[in-house]
Symmetry: C2
Amino acid sequence: MLNALDKKLLSTVADLHDVPQGAYSIRKDGESLLINSIENIVISPKKDRPGIDIKVKPGTKNQAVHIPVIISMSGIKEVVYNTIEIGEDADILLVAGCGIHNPGSKESRHDGVHEIIIGKNAKLRYVEKHYGEGTGEGKRVLNPKTVIEVHENGTGEFEMVQIEGVDDTHRITEAKLHERARLIMTEKLMTHQDQKARSDVVVELLGKGSSVKVVSRSVAKGSSLQVFQPRVVAKAEGKGHVECDSIIMDSGKIRSVPEIWAEHPLAELTHEAAIGKIAGEQIIKLMSLGLTEEEAVRAVIEGFLR
Amino acid sequence: MLNALDKKLLSTVADLHDVPQGAYSIRKDGESLLINSIENIVISPKKDRPGIDIKVKPGTKNQAVHIPVIISMSGIKEVVYNTIEIGEDADILLVAGCGIHNPGSKESRHDGVHEIIIGKNAKLRYVEKHYGEGTGEGKRVLNPKTVIEVHENGTGEFEMVQIEGVDDTHRITEAKLHERARLIMTEKLMTHQDQKARSDVVVELLGKGSSVKVVSRSVAKGSSLQVFQPRVVAKAEGKGHVECDSIIMDSGKIRSVPEIWAEHPLAELTHEAAIGKIAGEQIIKLMSLGLTEEEAVRAVIEGFLR
């Protein structure tokens, strides 16, 4: 059911070498390919539109859910809606991700809309990798929209990575944090050639004691362009920190526009950002250890995005 | 010619106790009151619209130019255009500033548009203080627009302070920096009650080796609102740093949206910002030395804005 190309894409975006254990949903070329539920984690197709509902029962622990999407054809365009509910006190790893192999001349595009609700005292670790490849001229486009709500004392840890090969992306992430809710969001982006990436993040601190840390790391190579606009709005006594670090190479361009907005007098908000070229000393040091310049640059970039 | 109120306003906004030495222009209640040129610094009224031209001859050193504006009536509204040219190799202090005493119920407003050209190897230190007072209901409004161009190896040091009593301000500052030009811009703002302040800054690094540092410090008391949008755009191999620190008290609100935009691969841009309440430890320490809480808060705020 999974051919060699499918397996390669699944391995790249979800670290899977075959159909996984536990609960999963694998989507291929615009259709649901495989769905598997387990006792505590029920995955069911949406009735009114493409996508799935995932319900994790309260108290479920030490389970991983895989929901990768792969596209292996040219000209596929889909909008998929997934709703993920993590019950109270649960503690779950969710592995999403999308890989596009576009062999032809038409654009292939996946727009994934994720609505994620993390219950009281629950914890979700979310990993999402995006990747594109293909010998044709057809563009690989990924526009993820992620809407997160973290309830009282819940925790969300989001790691979102665009590995390479995505020609165009507009990433939208929105989060609302209630009392003592925590969110750590790390976004890592690499662009090449004339690729474009835009990421808009809005986090609202709505409950007392809520906190968020947004970390963005990016590398723009070729003549690619990246625009970041992470915003943290504190409407309650909460803490927020935004940090953006970017490396530009070749003639890449990066705009970074973080915003902190304190609407509550006891809010504490900070941000920092830096855009610069790759550190020359590191390259020289690695070259003195025997690496070629190209190998040294690759090692530094990999370390930066790790 | 200067009454007691005039002298009080001049002292507050320009540290002057009477008509100054050297070149000056004093504007009062919508009209030019006094103008004085010296050999190397010629001040002349504009012919086509309100305002003055200031020409500082090349090589002029160790001179101060005072150009304060005072308004002592209710209902004065003026837009004033000043053009300031600093000749090559000159080194000058320019003291601007505007004080409004509004005794009545009508709005009094001064919109000052400053065009400032700093010549090759020249240096300008620019100090501008804004202040409002008055027993009436009439608003005190100040909208300064400052357009700066710094030529090769020139230096601009700008200190812009809104002391207090300004009900509404929209500050616009634009700067273009050529080869090896330097700009240090410090903005300090205090707002009370339901006052509003907005500051937009755009600095373009156009020449190789140009550099800018933008520092913003602000305190929002009462239910006042402040919005900051400092931007640095690097179109050449230059360095830029933006830092914004804000204290909120009572139910003040602050939005900080700095932007760094690298259009050149060798640009180095950084920013950092923090919004928070006044540091509790400092208050406690000062109170343990015998200050009342009110005195301690005042001392910390004054230190922060110094």
